[in-house]
Symmetry: C2
Subunit: 259 residues, 2 copies
């Protein structure tokens, strides 16, 4: 078999998330279908992040094992012929067969978009969470400083997350203005719990609008009791984009196409 | 009757343009329907720009005459309840009954988005024209300088445009990078011919990729024969956004909501 590593982008709006679910339109199953069409004996795709319904991705990393020896450029062009408009292979490269990017992930960067506006904006409706109240952005910046570092994030995860180890290291939590009235929160770290980014952003917004006091995040992290109620709300999925995944690659990994 | 002036935004993807056409989903007819639902005796809406199918708007200006005395905030909230997700009233203000923004337009600004990428991007598919070839951006900047000023743009319009006067004054033609791999062309002027912005952008791209020589725009404007073949291609509609319209307002115009 021939291992292939893909960068996959998608508009999450019309997908029920990454992970295959019976009877639902998911990115994993959509991509698997395109691969099967070209190479019926290929393995199932192995993704890095199980993004939720509505969450977007610029570079989700996905590996699979092909039975056919198709060069990277061929996979990009052929898979994109068979993928719908809202999903796309951005690049491909050769990698060891059996490589699982999930276990090779060393870090991820997410970006959450907030639209600061009294009225809705049709051009941002699938990409940004609209905040109609005034936000104290400087307060949010100070609050975000508490996020960076190694902490037990047990209080910042959905009740559906049952992992035993909840300590994570975050390397970045930056509030950055984008085009127009869009404010973004860039969050990077070694790994994330379920809904962790959305709860962190929801808490920053709760602090920024004055619903929660400054120091809420620091206090919740220090408490160490994993009580979800110490944090703020869960921000909606559609504002979130998985921007990139840092992988540990085997030394024999080929060059990507496009370069 | 009570005159009302609206700022209207829309994602043009699923509309057949602004202007009502029998049996088609247009922004004009969609807005007219929302107004009629609230005030069956209101006039039809009068828009400023007849944007094409696929073209977006951040602030299309629209006036209508209401039979009901509803304050601006009420119009914004009530119309948005009745408008679909891809169209929205951004603000409203009181204005003289019978005011027609089309005749009061003193200038418009458009922005055209180019996605510079070898591979398609699902998150930009409705907003930017993807250019897969290398572009010489500095050459495009020099070419754009020829656009600004008062010129006869007869060679830069669709054959469907039958206006007699084709002299227009453009005040701005700026090539500006946006987020990510998106390059934008901002074009402002007193008025535009049919497809004029899209032909100007198509010509800039043709020059930037080397299909047309530098000086193409200056030569076409100087020729003064209105020959469409001197210019480049017409850029596709989905990259274009009407950003704003400058109106001459009667002195009694009310304050907008939101402020």
């Amino acid at each position: 078999m021939h291992g292939v590593l893909l960068e996959v982008a998608y508009d999450g709006t019309a997908f029920k998330g990454w992970a295959a679910q019976r009877g639902e339109r998911t990115v994993e199953e959509t991509l698997a279908g395109a691969i099967r069409t070209l190479d019926p004996r290929a393995s199932a795709p192995r993704g890095t992040s199980r993004t939720d319904a509505g969450v977007h991705a610029e570079r989700q990393m996905v590996a699979f094992d092909a039975s056919l020896a198709i060069p990277p450029r061929g996979w990009v062009l052929a898979l994109n012929q068979h993928l719908p408009d809202d999903a796309c292979v951005r690049s491909a490269r050769a990698i060891d067969a059996g490589y699982n990017p999930r276990f090779a992930s060393r870090g991820k960067q997410y970006r959450y978009r907030l639209l600061l506006d009294r009225v809705r904006d049709p051009l941002q409706r699938h990409r940004a969470w609209r905040i109609g109240w005034p936000l104290d952005v400087e307060k949010m910046r100070r609050e975000a400083e508490a996020i960076v570092g190694t902490h037990d994030f047990a209080g910042f995860r959905s009740s559906h997350d049952a992992r035993d180890v909840t300590v994570r290291t975050l390397t970045r939590a930056a509030i950055e203005p984008l085009e127009g009235r869009v404010l973004s929160v860039a969050i990077a770290g070694n790994a994330f719990l379920y809904n962790m980014v959305r709860i962190l952003v929801g808490t920053l917004v709760d602090v920024g609008r004055g619903h929660l006091g400054e120091g809420t995040i620091a206090r919740a992290l220090a408490a160490g009791d994993g009580d979800r109620r110490r944090a703020g709300m869960t921000a909606p999925a559609h504002g979130l984009t998985l921007e990139s995944v840092l992988l540990e690659l085997p030394s024999e990994t080929g060059m990507p196409w496009p370069p």
